[in-house]
Amino acid sequence: MARHIVPTRVYYFIFIALLILTGTTVWVAFIDLGVMNNVVALGIATLKAMLVVLYFMHVRYSSKLTWVYLAAGFLFLVILLSFTMSDFLTRHLLAVPQGWSLLQ
């Protein structure tokens, strides 16, 4: 059946890119960028993940349906993370004034 065969040089290129990105993330971790450390670390991790997904896992050459399934998975993970954090991060907001609630 005619399925696209990814040439090996693509794999080697992505491989090198992944190693470089790994080295970068370790190097940046030792530099103080404040809050941006987290952003950069997760950003690089996401970039690496995207490279694996698109090229090693062939999503770049796959049907839209595959992409939709994958996107749905991440979307619902984001929902789980963000809605849960929305509780823990806002505990102090809109809090009932002292003495009004038995639940405090």
Partner: protein
């Protein structure tokens, strides 16, 4: 199990429908794995936000060099797995076996390093549980950090063991001549699984090993 591996299963119209179904099925399974690990990431995120200093301290107890080496090892294994799939698509039996074997060796190396890391922690009473002792500040919350370390990397390692088992199965079948340019679905599907396991580690490494290293 079909006696002839590369024939069409009775309920499919053609090989293309069969392959597309297998592919969609494997992707649906990987989506479940995203949510499965996602629960652990959620717990991690909640406690890292609640106890930033403890997580910083806990992370410093991990060996960045070993973690980085393991990351590189897994990336190499993803390359060899991708190449195994490539040679399966080309139908070269010996190369399939070669690259699957390399992937297994690299996976085993990863697990070996993890074993070294775990035994070090256990030796220093840093395994969360009744024997846990930590002489620094925030001991209770460092214990929570280490709980996530062990659970997340342990669950990841468990998935790797399963992956290695699946690859051994692939090698047995490959040597029997089951895979060709016409039919190589299992190699590609298990390849997807292995890459997914790699991606989980891609996130675990910075989140566990690189907190506040500056």
């Amino acid at each position: 199990m079909a006696s002839q591996p590369h024939t069409l299963q009775h309920h499919f119209e053609d090989l293309e429908q069969q392959f597309e179904s297998s592919s969609l099925g494997m992707w649906a399974f990987l989506v479940t794995e995203i949510l499965f690990f996602g629960g652990l990431f959620t717990g991690y995120l909640v406690y890292r936000t609640k106890f930033p200093e403890a997580f910083h301290l806990g992370s410093s107890l991990l060996d960045v060099q070993l973690g980085a080496i393991n990351t590189a090892v897994l990336i190499c294994s993803s390359l060899t797995m991708a190449l195994a799939v490539y040679w399966a698509q080309k139908g070269d039996k010996n190369k399939i076996v070669l690259f699957l074997s390399l992937t297994i060796v690299l996976g085993a190396a990863f697990l070996g390093v993890k074993a070294v890391e775990y035994s070090h922690k256990i030796h220093h009473h840093l395994l969360p549980g009744d024997g846990f002792t930590f002489e620094g500040p925030f001991a209770d919350q460092v214990r929570i950090f280490l709980s996530f370390y062990f659970t997340m990397t342990g669950m990841h390692a468990f998935h790797m063991v399963i992956g290695i088992g699946l690859m051994i199965y692939l090698i047995v079948r490959a040597r029997q001549g089951w895979y060709s340019s016409e039919y190589n679905t299992p190699v590609e599907m298990i390849g997807l699984y292995w890459h997914f396991v790699d991606i989980v580690w891609i996130y675990l490494f910075p989140l566990l090993y690189l907190i506040g290293r500056h």
